[in-house]
């Protein structure tokens, strides 16, 4: 009973602190609305991001080292991953994003008169709340960038599994531009803390939830009727078209498998190889060689018991299946550090991650499209093992997008999506914006 009271009073004081920070953020937002133009925001964000992306960045190295210990992941891998997250935030990428998703960008800076003669202003909601998942670090960074470009305050609840990046980037930003820095509130609470959760849900004008479908559904169901943007489970894959060479892409595919231990929605869990079955077998050996190389550069650490057990179950099934079927092939790294299973009957599902990948030989494009369309889980990214100057490049990209993929890239780039990419294909910035009667008018 005593302990419960202590926890309850701690939770109360944390909630008070959160309310105070959000109050200060709102004050900062009002000032930002009247004083900041797009270029000033873009410049501040680019400067803050470059402190993380520049070569030998101490910030990035320190964060990677901390997370490596916390998540049992390779520091070198995390450093590369974080480098990609922050190097996507440049002056030009933000200007392009504004151009693409906000054709009325000047209306973000000042009041305009609409057709009805009203004084209106384009901006985001006053407060955007992101409840982040713990599988991939740095997910909060593009969220912060887009919120600030939209003149919204940004509240981020980091997962205790990835606790530092949002807050650390907010600190860097505050050092560069205190006003923008104070519009970001990065915090952390346990998944079971309903008091903090309901406070955040109550004060936020817009809510975005990240995590597995189960996690997202569970949280969303507690706030029935509330409009929530859900970033749930997705599957990502690789594709080697029949006319493409198998060998040149193995290194990139291996990186897409291993990055963040395959736990992100953009982690490649399946590789489709079009053409005769021996191409898939060849690809599996090439991929194995590259995964062994990565195992030396980015040694795999043990993950949660649940994840490891799920992986073991997958390997067990693959062992049994390949022992009984001659058209299957199972190859594994030392101590099962990585696993490649060639399985013509594989279904499209997110897999178990942790450097386990299935390769599916598919006869032709028609078979590929049928497999993609059969997916019960929405497709996020597709790494396309094909030169962009190939004759069929455009047609192949269109084929993949027609199956509702939201990102198509070359192998090795799945985990470095452009700043504006959103899992469901909607605009990350544009979706935030709306016309409001001008508050200052």
């Amino acid at each position: 009973m005593e302990r419960k009271q202590v926890e309850s009073s701690q939770s109360e004081s944390v909630e008070m602190l959160l309310r105070q920070q959000l109050g200060e953020a709102e004050e900062a937002r009002k000032t930002a609305l009247s004083t900041l133009d797009n270029s000033e925001i873009v410049a501040a964000l680019a400067e803050a991001a470059s402190a993380w992306s520049e070569q030998d960045s101490e910030l990035r190295r320190g964060a990677a080292a901390f997370l490596a210990q916390h998540r049992h992941m390779s520091a070198a891998m995390l450093e590369q991953g974080l480098g990609s997250v922050f190097s996507a935030i440049t002056t030009s990428s933000m200007e392009n994003l504004l151009k693409r998703e906000c054709p009325d960008a000047p209306a973000l800076e000042r009041t305009t008169i609409n057709k009805a003669g009203e004084s209106v202003r384009l901006r985001g909601p006053s407060l955007v709340f992101h409840s982040l998942a713990g599988n991939v670090p740095g997910m909060g960074v593009p969220a912060i960038v887009c919120a600030l470009l939209a003149r919204s305050c940004c509240l981020l609840r980091d997962s205790p599994r990835q606790p530092i990046i949002s807050g650390a980037f907010a600190d860097t930003l505050a050092a560069v531009h205190p006003l923008l820095g104070s519009m970001v509130v990065a915090t952390e609470w346990d998944a079971g803390d309903r008091r903090m959760e309901s406070t955040a849900m109550r004060v936020a004008s817009r809510v975005e939830l990240y995590g597995s479908d189960e996690t997202v559904d569970r949280m969303a169901s507690r706030y029935g009727g509330r409009s929530i943007v859900e970033h749930g489970s997705r599957v990502s894959l690789g594709l080697v078209p029949a006319e493409a060479d198998t060998d040149q892409w193995a290194r990139g595919f291996a990186q897409d498998v291993a990055m963040y231990e395959g736990l992100g929605c953009l982690s490649m869990s399946l590789l489709l190889v079009e053409g005769p079955a021996d191409r898939a077998a060849r690809m599996s050996h090439k991929l194995g060689i590259e995964l062994s190389r990565l195992q030396r550069l980015w040694p795999r650490g043990p993950q949660d018991l649940d994840l490891e057990t799920s992986r073991r179950a997958f390997i067990g099934r693959a062992e049994l299946s390949s022992a009984g079927n001659q058209d299957e092939l199972l190859i594994r790294g030392r101590d099962d550090g990585w696993v490649v299973h060639v399985d013509p009957r594989a279904k499209l599902d997110p897999g178990c991650g942790l450097r386990v990948v299935k390769i599916v030989p598919v006869k032709d494009r028609q078979a590929t499209l049928e497999l993609l369309e059969s997916s019960k889980v929405p497709i996020a990214g597709v790494a396309l093992g094909m030169n962009s100057d190939s004759r069929n490049w455009k047609e192949t990209v269109n084929d993949v997008y027609s199956c509702d993929a939201t990102l198509v890239c070359v192998p090795g780039q799945l985990q470095t999506p452009p700043l504006g990419w959103r899992q469901d294909g909607h605009q990350r910035l544009g979706d935030l914006l709306d016309w409001y009667r001008d508050e200052q008018a």
Partner: protein
């Protein structure tokens, strides 16, 4: 081979002609030659009788392999089916045997050792679980029937029918009758039936005082029954509603794919004057290792990992089995932590289609 295994199970511990290690290696060779899927599995791991020199190196087949045709013993074979999984009835494990005598020898020898160490003689038995008549495909049902056959006196009763319905009213009446007797009783139940019984007693504000020396054996998890108890909560409720102390409550761990069982060692420990932490203990013809799911190497004492068994009683199928059951290694035994979330829900409690009639 059967004779060797049966002799090993029957033999006095100091009287063994063969050691566990020798038999495990011999069985590996025997099974490698006779079970095609196992041989292919071992070949893929580059393990064969000529390359394996210690029993711990024998490749452990994932228990899921029993969902495939592991070995065909013909139409005359006894076939045990698991009670169904979340994947559906067509994905049940099948364990084929040409003879049940090793199973009976293994099951009864160790049941007597762990549940009846004080040799209480015939007892009044309440069977709240499957039996061979109601569930001929259930390996648990077969074992419960043997126990019933060898232990039950005329006052015993079966309160579980072929549709998996547990008759809690009949069970309560039986408990009432037995409470006024002074001879100890044995309650054999699937955990979900026991949970349903205790829940009914709580709801009706009923309790009884079973005679001293009475004991309860439950098995199969508590899926589908509400409210559920933790293992400790179940023992507490057994004391509260049935007046059976925790050390007389024994939880069994077994599976269709394996012909030996593990039991809580509390009752036998008490009988031998030992008061240790409660662990699951297995017979000397069945050894376990708790392994890391990441590396398949044994974990340290106290750590949680996956259970791997080497069961000599499985001489007709495959002895070395890798499960997805999570356990904490404690000394020579283990404490069951649960079943990995990715593993399918399974177990004998799924026989219970309706908790209370």
């Amino acid at each position: 081979m059967q004779k060797k295994i049966d002799n090993f199970i029957s033999a006095d511990i100091n009287d063994d002609k063969y050691s566990f290690e020798e038999l495990a290696l011999e069985l590996f060779e025997y099974q490698y030659e006779r079970v095609p899927l196992y041989r292919q599995f071992c070949d893929a791991r580059q393990a064969s009788p000529s390359s394996v020199s210690e029993w711990q190196q024998v490749p452990a087949l994932p228990a899921d392999a029993f969902k495939q045709q592991l070995i065909d013993h013909g139409e005359e074979a006894h076939v045990f089916l698991s009670s169904g999984t979340s994947e559906g009835l067509d994905k049940r494990s099948r364990h084929q045997l040409t003879t049940l005598s090793t199973y009976r020898l293994s099951a009864m020898t160790f049941f007597n050792e762990m549940v009846l160490p004080d040799e209480p003689g015939s007892m009044s038995v309440l069977l709240a679980g499957p039996g061979v008549d109601s569930h001929p495909d259930s390996s648990l049902g077969r074992m419960f029937s043997w126990v019933y056959e060898e232990t039950a006196n005329a006052d015993s009763e079966v309160v579980f029918d072929g549709d998996g319905e547990f008759d809690s009213t009949a069970a309560l009446e039986w408990l009432g009758r037995m409470s006024s007797d002074n001879r100890p009783v044995l309650l054999l139940a699937v955990s979900s039936a026991l949970t349903a019984l205790l829940a009914r007693m709580r709801e009706k504000k009923l309790s009884c005082r079973l005679p001293g020396g009475s004991r309860i054996v439950d098995t199969g998890g508590r899926k589908g029954a509400a409210p559920t108890y933790s293992a400790a909560g179940m023992r507490k409720a057994c004391w509260r509603y049935l007046h059976v102390p925790g050390y007389m409550c024994v939880n069994e761990y077994g599976m269709t794919e394996m012909l030996s069982q593990y039991y809580d060692d509390a009752l036998v420990g008490r009988h031998r004057g030992r008061i240790d932490q409660r662990i699951k203990a297995g017979p000397r013809w069945c050894r376990h290792v708790v392994v890391s799911p990441a590396t398949l190497q044994p974990v340290a004492d106290g750590e949680v990992g996956l259970l791997r068994h080497t069961d000599l009683a499985n001489w007709e199928s495959v002895s070395a089995l890798q499960t997805l059951d999570l356990a904490r290694r404690v000394g020579d035994g283990f404490q069951l932590v649960g079943r990995a979330s990715t593993a399918q829900l399974r177990g004998c409690s799924q026989l219970l289609t309706m908790a209370v009639t």
